[in-house]
Symmetry: C2
Subunit: 312 residues, 2 copies
């Protein structure tokens, strides 16, 4: 039996090609109980460089024993033509959710507690700020980031509303609301967090009519995609004091051009798409690879298995 | 029996004198099941204006039935001469801990995740930032703020070290270290939070020798008193890239004068002593008063009883 074999021996894994993440990934394989071998002897292959899909085919052709290909990055579009059914393919989707959720918490707190004012002040200013603790949050999206966000906020005793495609319950949320009814999730919310996928339907999820029903003290945080917010409607709502402010880790266009009105807006904080940085990702990817090496050697289902049909 | 009597009837409570908090405190008394009466008929007195200690003595002299005096504010220094043993005196110490702890979390996250840079940028900048999740925090102080801080960070899976007078265990902390050994609590910490009382002994708790053993990426957050940090040593450590940065809600002197080097330092975020604002305090004080009215009417021990000997 396969699982028998891999319980008795260290699982032979190759890491290719050389890259900035190479050493960290090799260590992860060893930490997971794998033995590092060349690709031709490997049962599993961890592909170390997201930018080199063109090298992968020849490695696979020369390495018939490989039954698992681990792509330890989230976006695998260039690899889709290579996917096959002879091997199990995995990617690292969801692995970045935790740092992105942390960034959303940081931005939400910073906005509510007045940092857009204070961080730019050069003198003692009058007090301002609203608490998040015991407050109400509405989160758009019900994926990995939202799961992590709910977990991070466990100690904050917030009432959380999740807006998702269909209103099935979401663990840790007081209520869920269908995306089509999203405007009803906004009144009463101190903080609105966007953590959903961008599709034609969710473009401008936050437009003038949504901004109109938000609370005057409420802040909006976007860690998803710039296209979720109608930037023109946002600037108008901010100028009219219709909402408290906006913290944007993503913009439309992105990068936000110099001189754009949002850069200098006193009620806006912008971070340059750093919800997950490369440095934060390295240990998370390593943990993902380590976990999959353990599972592979035990013949257990792998994390992040790619669907050939969906292409992710 | 007293408790019997107060279970059968609404407890007579006076709120005096008129102030900005007066209505909120009257509502709190009613919410706690008390009946609002004049001081001469009251069993309990809620003193509504921290700035008017000189009025209290005559009210008490004219109101012999009063057995409980509630001072719903944290600092009661001007009231110490009035304390007596005939009545129970309470104050609102610890009531502000939760917003202050939230502010500390906000500042810590903002510092680590690069907001000192990003909030002042007017163009897309290179990524920077360090995670707090799964990181290590050292907190100076073992009072209400630290208790709340540990609670808020429940979802962050941090390893927390508490530095306190004597190293008794602290709930939720991985270890406690005696104040005299504080330098040993700093290496390895991603974040250092000051939440202790200012005494002659804790002045300059963070001085050149402490800064010298902090991590190059670590941030320090001060929500206690400005005098805890040697500001000159801090500026030098920042200029020498010895630590990641500092977020200060309190300064020395305070308010920090215009033109002070810290205002313009790229690795410093300053907030104007807004850990707890007046607006945040109002509902918290109301909840404190409500709870004490309930306890008083049931003849249960009150929250925040003042020790005449200690004067707080």
């Amino acid at each position: 039996m396969l699982s028998q074999k891999h319980n008795d021996h260290q699982c032979p894994i190759a890491v290719e090609p050389k890259s900035g993440r190479f050493e960290s990934l090799e260590r992860a394989v060893v930490d997971g109980g794998g033995s590092l071998v060349s690709a031709s002897d490997a049962a599993g292959l961890v592909w170390a460089d997201a930018a080199k899909p063109h090298l992968l085919k020849s490695v696979l052709d020369a390495s018939p024993k490989i039954r698992w290909v681990g792509l330890p990055f989230a976006g695998i579009e260039p690899y889709v033509p290579l996917l096959d059914t002879e091997r199990v393919w995995t990617c690292a989707r969801g692995v970045y959710a935790r740092p992105v959720a942390e960034h959303a918490v940081m931005l939400g707190l910073a906005g509510l507690r007045g940092l857009a004012t204070f961080a730019r002040a050069s003198r003692w200013s009058p007090p301002e700020g609203v608490n998040l603790v015991d407050g109400r949050i509405t989160v758009f999206g019900a994926g990995g980031i939202t799961t992590e966000l709910v977990g991070l906020l466990r100690g904050f005793d917030c009432e959380i509303t999740v807006v998702r495609k269909s209103p099935e319950p979401f663990a840790g949320a007081a209520r869920t609301i269908a995306y089509s009814e999203r405007a009803s999730a906004l009144p009463g919310a101190d903080l609105v967090v966007l953590a959903l996928a961008l599709t034609p339907e969710t473009r401008h999820a936050i437009d003038a009519s949504e901004l109109a029903v938000m609370e005057p003290h409420s802040w909006i945080v976007n860690v998803a995609r710039g296209g979720h917010i109608n930037a023109e409607a946002l600037v108008k709502a901010l100028d009219d004091n219709r909402i408290g402010g906006a913290c944007l880790d993503v913009t439309d266009p992105e990068p936000l051009p110099e001189g754009h009105r949002l850069w200098s807006h006193p009620k806006v904080l912008i971070t340059p798409h750093v919800g997950n940085t490369r440095e934060m990702g390295v240990p998370l990817l390593a943990a993902h690879v380590r976990e999959n090496v353990i599972r592979f050697s035990r013949n257990e289902p792998l994390a992040g298995v790619v669907s050939i049909q969906d292409g992710y």
